[in-house]
Symmetry: C3
Subunit: 299 residues, 3 copies
């Protein structure tokens, strides 16, 4: 499936290694094969340290790093670039916005828009998860702020989660609080981290956990003082990169392939479910009320 001559760059995510063409086109003729050291976009800043093979990915979309269609697209493209860059073996994901890792899916993308827009948005959410959960790179979430709903999903999809121990920062899949339902693959990802019982209870209550409680439940792997977060993330990354890539990647695929395959097999159905659900007037109303509440709280 890889065009001749670009094999070294051809490293699609684990979930479609066999089935799909390489996710990005080969570099244009004349461009050097060794790619970007740093690329800044609108919403995410990416820096690759080629000596260590570790990229730092920082969300910088104030006020709350919400996962808009634009943000998700940039996120997927950034991951894809790194995935295809032989010099990059791992990514640390963190936030450049104080007190917030990511607030999750952007509600304005789900409110008062066309069916076509909902479909495009949801496909972008799926794409991001497929790419992140199925990444061949080592992915470490350095959670330096609150991380509800889709923000929590981003963290859950990494290989390892380190959180600032500040009890004011909370994390969880709190969709139910907004009257909406996490899709099955959010749920599956969650169950694989915290087990069925905690997920069942937590998803129904839309629980957000302060960092210490999140750690107790296994939702995050480690807590450190906020000022030590990046140092710790780098140390954990070094530990994971000490292993041979090939064996680690095959092992990761073995652990995650069933879930990735499940979404790939039901992708259109999942989009239709989302559209049907989100188009309901009762759901639209409850999202509008939630946005009103957010606005009032801010002012």
């Amino acid at each position: 499936v890889c065009p001749p001559g670009v094999l070294p760059l051809c490293r699609p995510p684990a979930w479609d290694r066999a089935a799909r063409p390489p996710p990005s086109p080969p570099p244009a003729p004349g461009l050097p094969l060794a790619p970007c050291r740093a690329f800044s976009n609108n919403k995410i800043q990416v820096e690759l340290d080629e000596s260590s093979g570790v990229a730092m990915m920082k969300f910088k979309s104030p006020p709350v790093n919400s996962l808009s269609l634009e943000f998700l697209t940039e996120f997927s493209i950034s991951l894809e670039k790194l995935e295809n860059n032989r010099a990059c073996r791992g990514v640390i994901i963190t936030s450049a916005v104080p007190k917030i890792f990511s607030s999750g899916l952007d509600i304005t993308e789900m409110c008062g828009k066309s069916v076509e827009h909902y479909a495009e948005f949801w496909r972008a959410v799926q794409e991001l998860w497929l790419r992140l959960y199925g990444s061949n790179m080592v992915t470490v979430a350095a959670i330096n702020g609150s991380s509800p709903a889709g923000g929590c999903l981003v963290a859950l999809s990494c290989d390892y989660r380190i959180m600032a121990e500040n009890p004011k920062f909370s994390i969880g899949l709190n969709e139910a609080q907004l009257g909406i339902v996490a899709p099955f693959w959010f749920k599956d990802t969650f169950v694989n981290v915290v087990g069925h019982r905690t997920a069942e209870c937590s998803l129904q209550l839309g629980s957000l956990y302060p960092a210490p409680e999140a750690h107790r439940l296994g939702l995050v792997d480690e807590l450190v003082p906020e000022e030590k977060l990046m140092e710790k993330a780098a140390a954990v990354m070094a530990q994971w990169l000490a292993l041979p890539d090939h064996a680690r990647q095959l092992t990761k695929t073995m652990m995650r392939k069933a879930l990735l395959d499940r979404l790939v097999a039901h992708r259109e159905e999942d989009i239709n479910n989302f559209i049907t659900f989100i188009s309901k007037e009762s759901i639209q109303k409850s999202l509008r009320m939630y946005m009103e509440m957010l606005k009032k709280r801010k002012s």
Copy 2:
């Protein structure tokens, strides 16, 4: 699938929302639509507080609330009535008999009876579980006494389990102690609460756990002093009811549908397995011995 005009009452359990006709007939003409406040039956007392939307269901079948065919039938019908009552959003299940929540399946129903009786009995056990595990209502078990075998299954099928912290009260799926085997859906329900390893060990040893140990394993969610049990159950219920019903119900279905579907798909096979197993002379003998032992212990 709902006859016109009765839609508001039509709320089948989650596991057959799409596939089956509403579980109860519409109310007879002339009867008021707003249903029962309290209905007392032979073996279970039910009281609905319409202001909170919470029903209290109390097992009152001395000496040990054993799950006889009659008890199971009444239990299923009571759940069905509440499920179809728009005023009811949650049920607290507890016992009116001191020191015992429920002793589990009534052994006399499994001893020296006809094949037809075994089939009817087992179908009633299945029906109760399908209805309770798949309930759209919030279900809280307030476990105020011991709860072996089928009694434990009732508790495991609820959304949340609070137990009196008395270490003399024990709970567990102890079928193996009697020489019998918990069916696959008891096992599946158990695994979803405590995980595979604890279930594997516990089911093989037929372990009964004192309340503190049960709490440590996650078999129950919380322990409180016995005199605070109902107060705590009401508080937990209020917390669950603070969430929008629709999102919570869809989430519950997402978590439990696979298990419910599995029994629905293998229901007749499961009945036949039960009949074959229970009809063996060796099993009959060991159940008779167990009943003898219970009688002696009593006198």
Copy 3:
């Protein structure tokens, strides 16, 4: 499926109770039906105490009880003999070599050999696991030394694991450290013991855990001082044997059958995967380097 006249001896492992002929031929005419009290082989010493029904199986293949083809074959045959011996209800598995339980699969069997040899070796690994994980007997691992990789799998396949509390003894599926990948049924067995999250992290890092950490993760069930290990193993065995065999065996089958079936269904494919992987020059090279390192460390 059992030839007439030998029914009492006919007890195939749980995973093929229905489908296959009895795993061993009936005893030759003229031989007494009550078999071996003790049989010593080259690499494993087996002693059966007929009064308790408990066999002691001791690995005695210095220096490190590595699972060579010869060892695996002897191990499978020993289990088969005990399985078919009505006098035997349980096995305690331990090591006669100080400080090591088993070092896992013998790397020399995977290095520089023919494809036919790899196939034969891998089939023997599968056979051992099918027999041990699916055993109808109660199996207790008394882990009196380190137990990496395949040694850990042997322990994980038992019903209960007791480990000497010496923190110098470590245990884990550390295949990734050697640049190789644990097959899916190692992974499944591991997930069923420690859950998905711990397995995912642990397998990717190839983690070896000192005994106390292994206990904390649930990888072993209990720690005891080394001098109490055998006493404790006997006590645990007695506790498991207090249950009626039939119910316990059916329960064990219910818990483990899905995994056993999965390997049985993909056995040839799994062998081919192993051969393809192990035949790669990069893998061969990394195994040779590992062996060099072991040799140097020794001298």
